[in-house]
């Protein structure tokens, strides 16, 4: 699995990634997913990561970029057909 930018989050990231891969291949790709079953694990991973992003000062940069993105999303991420 790919590494987390925060080594202290590697373990919880790996647990989440494994859960996601299983859900993605078994449910999502087959069109049988009814909900994101890995959300509880994601919340744990997110909690660890958000601390790390804050400590590195990346959180504000990220927020700005995502707000920028949101404005463009409506036109760019729409399916073409």
């Amino acid at each position: 699995m790919s590494a987390s930018l925060a080594p202290e989050c590697n373990e919880v990231k790996e647990r989440y990634d494994n859960c996601f891969l299983k859900w993605y291949s078994e449910k999502f790709l087959r069109g049988t997913a009814t909900s994101d079953e890995c959300e509880p694990l994601f919340k744990q991973y997110e909690q660890c990561l958000s601390k790390a992003l804050k400590a590195r000062g990346i959180d504000t940069m990220l927020k700005e970029a995502r707000e920028d993105n949101r404005e463009n999303d409506a036109e760019h991420m729409r399916p073409k057909r």
Partner: protein
């Protein structure tokens, strides 16, 4: 004045496998400059059955010496040698029912110097009725071509289906624009930083801002042209591993690639692959 690069390609793998490979593409032997990948948000909409993912990649990069010569020293204090790490924000939306995945990646830093936005559109080819029937029969004949993760997880890779991908990179330099704005703001606020101004303004006078921007966009364009084939090769390595040994082989390959990166011998490793080091 924006530079634009685009290309199309066909993967000889079915659409679902390609989307999985996209999420699993780092690390691979062609991406030893990618240090980490984190998912920062993920949303599944059960009504549309679309999955939206935002990830943050950290890449080791080197500013090309040509760019170093062009941009003012005062900008470079943080990384005087041009060695730097940069964050890339990636957004993707997958719709498996309609058979498309759209992705967009952009740099988070240095956007004042050069903003690079890469978009990719993955499409399951649209088949007509007759082709659909044949594909179905062919699929049935190839059911053994599953990949398995553990007992329950199977993604088909040998169905004979293909996936089309369109890539486009947009490069836009805003160099000089911010300082012009800042200068105007400072002038009206009775400039306290007067010592810094003459040097900067002198710099931008000697080259016109627009020709500087064009030069930087051109350098970025050359880089994009060089890195695109590597990005595709990386995806193909991951897909090949999937075909050979399923998800287990992909994960095992990732583990080895990650060790090679952490082991600090990315160059020796890369030499073996015969690839350059500026792919970002």
């Amino acid at each position: 004045m924006v530079k634009f690069y685009s290309s199309t390609d066909t993967y000889s793998y079915p659409f679902p496998a390609v989307t999985l490979a996209y999420f699993l593409r780092y690390p691979n032997p062609y991406s030893t400059h990618v240090l980490s990948t984190d998912t920062i948000s993920r949303h599944y909409d059960p009504v549309t059955q679309r999955l939206t993912t935002i990830r943050l990649h950290l890449k080791r990069s080197k500013l090309p010496s040509a760019v170093l010569k062009l941009i003012p020293r005062s900008l470079l204090s943080a990384s005087a040698g041009g060695d730097t790490q940069s964050y890339i924000l990636e957004k993707s939306v997958v719709d498996v029912r309609e058979g498309w995945m759209d992705t967009e990646s952009r740099n988070l830093e240095w956007t004042g110097v050069l903003s690079v936005v890469e978009k990719q559109e993955f499409r399951r080819p649209q088949l007509n009725e007759e082709e659909r029937v044949w594909a179905g029969m062919e699929n049935a004949a190839r059911r053994h071509g599953f990949i398995s993760f553990n007992s329950g997880t199977k993604v088909e890779v040998d169905t004979g289906e293909t996936t089309e991908v369109k890539s486009a990179v947009t490069l836009h330099s805003h160099l000089g624009e911010k300082w012009k704005k800042r200068k105007a703001a400072e002038d009206s606020a009775a400039g306290e930083k007067e010592e810094e101004q003459p040097q900067k303004m002198g710099f931008f006078k000697s080259w016109s801002t627009s020709s500087l921007q064009r030069s930087i966009e051109l350098i970025g364009l050359k880089r994009a042209r060089r890195s695109q084939p590597n990005a595709k090769e990386g995806m193909k390595v991951v897909l090949e591993r999937m075909r050979e040994g399923g998800l287990v082989a992909v994960l095992e390959g990732m583990r080895r690639d990650r060790e090679a990166i952490l082991g600090g011998h990315p160059h020796a490793f890369k030499k073996g692959m015969g690839k350059g080091e500026d792919e970002d």
